[in-house]
Symmetry: C2
Subunit: 403 residues, 2 copies
């Protein structure tokens, strides 16, 4: 049986300049920016405006996420973070709604002497890279955030980290796409069409064949599953499950927290993101479980336990929602951006834990790449063909954090 | 504005023999049994088939609940438990659906030496009362239930405890009421009508005035709030919040548990009720928080933590639902059954943690009382006017368990 999409019901479309496969936050920003550059743009997704961003906390932690050996990714994160204020203003204008952007900063705290030593070391590295961070004693941390546990031993204040509400941002981007004339096919792209040695569009589950000069694979964790893509071109992305809790801070207790709080508890990165409307998001587990998106007792239990160690008062708050999503993990934690080895096929996927943060720069980079310009310098380290055979073949194995 | 009920739209009804205020499990069984005896019966509730039973686990633990100083309640519990198999058969026939009754027994376990001593003592008391219970070593417990934590030190097997699915039982009772001719007014009873020195029905929120020879107050935790009831007749019930979790056991892991598992963990009674359809209910918190029914982070966290100590494997299970309800607590933990000091007003409320268990006997007792018969012997200790002034006035204070 064939069902027609809402915006498109022809069996074979006129050729577009660009077809974006995937209507999550990355696909939407790519399509929007392409349309703004004057490209006739289509997007295919059975449920546009969904994807991993529906679960994400929206912590824009360019600095906090910084790991050894990820300098190029740090540069990309910082470049995207710097674009955020202007990006948000533009999306809110184009999408006609606010997206919950908040310039609140982050406080990373240590709960014991080991944590403290580790965080001190991270603080030093940040300073060597010229990043603006401030070291605080435990008492100073609690003065900033009175709800912190008495046992907090010290912390690092990062005023450059911000937050956004990913659900609102995605909704605004979808509206911005529609207003910019992006044609949205509400159907799954089932197969890339290859004509000769060139990608020429895709076949959708509703029977539509969409032709396009450039096709962009932006299907998040599903990007490695598109039929028709040559095996050596398929991106080595895998689903990494994240479970997240949403609590509410009742009005009398607000603000409760004034900034994002992060810590490593029992080896796990835990963060609490307080929104202006009283929502408090606690994230996130990181689990290698294939395509499973069930909320488990252990996920909820461990998040509550670890968050409770940081902020004992959270236990009094209503628990409003538990959810799970799949991040598109990549072997080196970096995204795949721009042209692939197959002419006519580009990529914007593999953003792993940085999808929301990297949304502004991804939109700009992909618009450049689609209009035939060069990839901006910050993105050149993230071309899809950067990985050698060994790194590609290991992509189904659990991914270690760089030491 | 006045809205009409589904089954009743007149402003003033012909007098009924009995009007039941409250369409939870207790109100429904009362109305059903009254109609079966030939009484013209009405029931008023804005959402019949709701109430505390929607949250309850449905553990029929007459013996496990046994406390010092509650011999009359134990007798009532045992009498009601004994009626359950026949009651279930009758409700399933009358309501046209199964209610998830399961003759699975309970295993109460001890996690440390103190628990073990306490449980040993409880075992002795049970034996002195002639109840069938068997003492098991930790190894014997794990042989029965392999998912139990290795640390379990011993346990008491109670084959007389059963379970039922309270949501299904309530739905079947509602259907049975409709089939038996009970007229259901889908509106809140706002005020008891008193004519002279006699209760004569109630005024509903939709403007209907329902006249009845006998009015039964069966509004659960809300029973103390009905306007028009003389203060010295109002039942001393208060809301006691319970939070409950619902997990699912995926088919490959079943049965997972074969019977109800109970324990006291850190002073809190925790139980896991495994249903045939794979649902696993974990209950329950007991909180004195007025009319608050929010699911809190602490409720979910503590239930998961305590259940995990008993059954470590639960953390791998999907968490499907979190919910909270209000039990009608009474000063001595016993229900209020039968005629009050106000002629024409009867009561079936205050069932606290035993509402589902006491449903069969409550229906029988109330049918007797409404048709002018004597209260059965087991119910005579639970007349509404049993409490003296001191006990009544203390009803708003937090209720301690009998030592």
């Amino acid at each position: 049986m064939r069902t027609s999409g809402t915006h498109a019901s022809t069996e074979r479309t006129e050729p577009y300049d660009a077809l974006v496969i995937g209507g999550g936050i990355i696909g939407l920003v790519t399509a929007w920016r392409a349309a703004q550059r004057g490209l006739r743009t289509a997007l295919a997704d059975p449920a546009p405006g969904g994807g991993a961003a529906m679960v994400a906390a929206g912590m824009l932690g360019s600095v906090g996420e910084f790991q050894y050996g990820e300098h190029a990714l740090l540069d990309l994160n910082l470049a995207s973070a710097a674009r955020y204020p202007e990006f948000v203003a533009e999306v809110e204008e184009a999408g006609g709604q606010e997206v919950g952007y908040r310039d609140c900063g982050t406080l990373m705290v240590a709960l014991d002497a080991d944590d403290r030593a580790h965080l001190r070391d991270l603080h030093e590295r940040h300073r060597r890279f010229g990043l603006e961070v401030e070291w605080l004693t435990g008492r100073e941390c609690r003065r900033l955030e009175p709800m912190l546990a008495p046992g907090v031993r010290g912390g690092m204040r990062i005023d450059g980290d911000h937050q956004v509400d990913p659900r609102r941002l995605t909704a605004a981007l979808l509206r911005a796409c529609e207003r910019a004339g992006v044609v949205i096919h509400r159907a799954l792209a089932e197969r890339l069409t290859v004509t000769g040695d060139r990608a020429t569009g895709a076949e959708l589950a509703d029977g539509t064949r969409v032709s396009a000069g450039q096709t962009v694979l932006a299907a998040g964790s599903l990007s490695a599953r598109l039929a028709g893509v040559p095996p050596d071109v398929l991106p080595p992305v895998r689903p990494v499950k994240g479970q997240v809790l949403r609590l509410t801070v009742p009005a009398p207790y607000r603000p409760f927290l004034s900034r994002v709080i992060r810590a490593v508890v029992r080896g796990t990165d835990v963060y609490l993101v307080p929104r202006v409307d009283g929502e408090l998001v606690i994230g996130a587990t990181s689990e290698e479980r294939g395509w499973d998106t069930t909320v488990t007792a252990s996920g909820v239990y461990e998040l509550l336990r670890d968050a409770h160690e940081l902020i004992p008062g959270i236990t009094e708050l209503p628990l409003v929602e538990t959810c799970a999503g799949l991040r598109p993990g990549s072997p080196d934690n970096g995204p795949f951006l721009g042209p692939t080895a197959l002419p006519g096929l580009q990529m914007a996927t593999g953003h792993f834990r940085n999808g929301v943060l990297l949304t502004p720069i991804t939109g700009d980079v992909m618009a450049e790449a689609l209009t035939g310009g060069e990839l901006p310098p910050a993105a050149r380290a993230f071309t899809p063909h950067r990985l050698d055979g060994a790194a590609r073949t290991s992509f189904n194995a659990p991914q270690e954090q760089p030491a």
